[in-house]
């Protein structure tokens, strides 16, 4: 058995044992690291600053190192296009003819669309500002699919911004340093993206699993998706704008619906980061970020000042004889069957509303309604 031969040699501790102790200590440290890195939200991660520091260093290094790779890639592309020139020429001519037909149709539809929008006074979405960035590092492992782009907070990039390539969505920004941003791809095992099927308008959650084709989960409705259906962002949740192209639905080897991403067909060197924060950009940020709650719609002046959530008067049971005495909590109106919606609203003077924080949950309402809700 081997022993140490340095100044601690007198201890005569077998080296295999000390190695085992070091191994156990390191395992404990690694477990502690994993447990401490359970990020509920990317913004609150305690490791964010470390990640930012690494990204700040890695981005310029990757930028420099990837330059010969881009040249090489460009050279191969050039060679490939040279050999396939004749076939590509025929294909492009066919595509051009088809594109001209589509363009004519699109122009007519756009004019009609604009006219109808004007008639209906529909507010159109403003154009989103974008930041163009170059991908300098591309993690392709099964446990993390993320990229590093060379534009950061210095160029106005923030956490949560969606990122697209020239063909479609690739992911969103999850970490930002002054000169770099880390993009979580749609394929990542922790990525969840609300999408919709363009043909059926069915909603689904695009769930990454580390493979090239993320799954379509939580599909609802009859025949919601078919092979080749176009998949777009639905805009639900406010992370992505609605209608960005994602890919096409395909049946996976495991029988599940998956998506062949449009962005996979494009070179990934350049990406565009959309400076889309939330729907307040579309709906009018001033109204949504002012912090002032909208005025309460209620029949009772006393409740107006107390920020009580108003119950729709159409659901109020009409008191047949008299109102309950003051101090008695009125019955929760949410428990009222819909058939009573036609009941005439209660008279204003008969509403004995005491300011209360919020109505109880609907599930508990019937039990509480029995003793207090009926007339005395």
């Amino acid at each position: 058995m081997a022993f140490r031969q340095d100044s601690f040699g007198e201890l005569k501790v077998p080296l295999a044992w000390t190695a085992a102790v070091a191994l156990i200590v390191c395992v404990v440290i690694a477990v502690a690291l994993i447990l401490s890195d359970r990020r509920g939200t990317v913004e609150s991660s305690v490791h964010q600053s470390t990640q930012q520091a690494v990204d700040t260093v890695a981005a310029p290094v990757g930028d420099v190192i990837s330059t010969p790779g881009r040249w090489l890639s460009g050279a191969f592309d050039w060679l490939g296009s040279y050999w396939n020139a004749a076939g590509e020429n025929r294909r492009l001519k066919t595509e051009l003819m088809e594109a001209r037909r589509v363009e004519d149709r699109a122009t007519a539809l756009a004019l009609e669309n604009a006219r109808l929008r004007t008639m209906l006074k529909v507010a159109t979405d403003p154009a989103m500002p974008m930041v163009t960035a170059r991908v300098v590092f591309d993690g392709r492992g099964p446990y993390r699919r993320a990229q590093l782009a060379n534009a950061g907070s210095g160029k106005g990039v923030k956490i949560g911004f969606p990122v697209i390539s020239e063909r479609g969505v690739i992911g969103r920004v999850v970490a930002v340093s002054p000169n770099a941003s880390r993009i979580l791809l749609l394929k990542d095992v922790s990525s969840r993206t609300p999408v919709m099927i363009a043909r059926s308008n069915a909603r689904a959650i695009l769930t990454g699993d580390g493979g090239d084709n993320p799954r379509l989960e939580n599909l609802r409705g009859a025949d919601p998706v078919r092979e080749g259906d176009k998949v777009l962002t639905s805009g639900d949740g406010g992370i992505y704008p609605r209608g960005l192209p994602v890919g096409r639905a395909v049946k996976g080897l495991d029988g599940r619906w998956r998506v062949a991403l449009d962005s996979d067909t494009a070179p990934m060197d350049w990406v565009r980061i959309i400076q889309f924060e939330d729907f307040s950009q579309i709906e009018g940020g001033a109204d949504m970020t002012s912090g002032v709650l909208p005025d309460v719609k209620t029949e009772d002046p006393a409740a107006r000042g107390s920020r009580t959530i108003a119950v729709p008067q159409t659901a109020t049971p009409a008191p047949k004889t008299a109102s309950p005495p003051a101090g008695v909590t009125p019955a929760p109106k949410t428990a009222t069957p819909p058939a009573k919606a036609a009941t005439p609203p209660a008279p204003k003077a008969a509403a004995p509303v005491q300011p209360k924080p919020a109505p109880p949950p609907a599930a508990k309402a019937p039990a509480q309604a029995a003793p207090t809700g009926g007339p005395p």
Binding site: F3, A19, G62, F137, D138, P142, Y143, V189
Partner: protein, 171 residues
Amino acid sequence: MSFQAARPLDPWRWMGAPALICLGATLLLGLPFRLLGLQLPEPVFPMICVFSWAVIRPSILSPIVILLIGIVLDLLWGGPLGLWGLSMLVGYGLTLSMRAMMLGQSRMMMWAWYAGVCAVVQLAGYLFTMLAFQHSPNVLAVIWQLLATSLLYPFAHRLIDRFDDADVRFR
């Protein structure tokens, strides 16, 4: 045999330099490079170190360096901190515990052992990721990375060949 005859290994030669080379190779393979539309594979280069260090000799420094490499991988790839460190330490511990069985075997058998250790590391990564994200990663992607990593054994063999006789106490 007297201990005076033993020639201690220089940690920089058998640990520092290989670790840096593996991290450099990881950085190179992480570049956004496509050849005729195909992406390059992404093997776990540090598995070369994990396997060969355990085979060459037990050491106090090895687990520490493996943990540090794992943390660098996590920061580089953007994964949860500690994922690769823990997974590779599982592989290192397994190799260390089975070292007596592996020593002296043929190159092909050692390759098979290496592939087995890589599979255990991938399995550990799979389970830890599943626990962390409550969602199972794609098995095909895991197998693809396992295959790419298993093909790196010749580099591990070269490292073992170069250093396993350097310290006669561990023959």
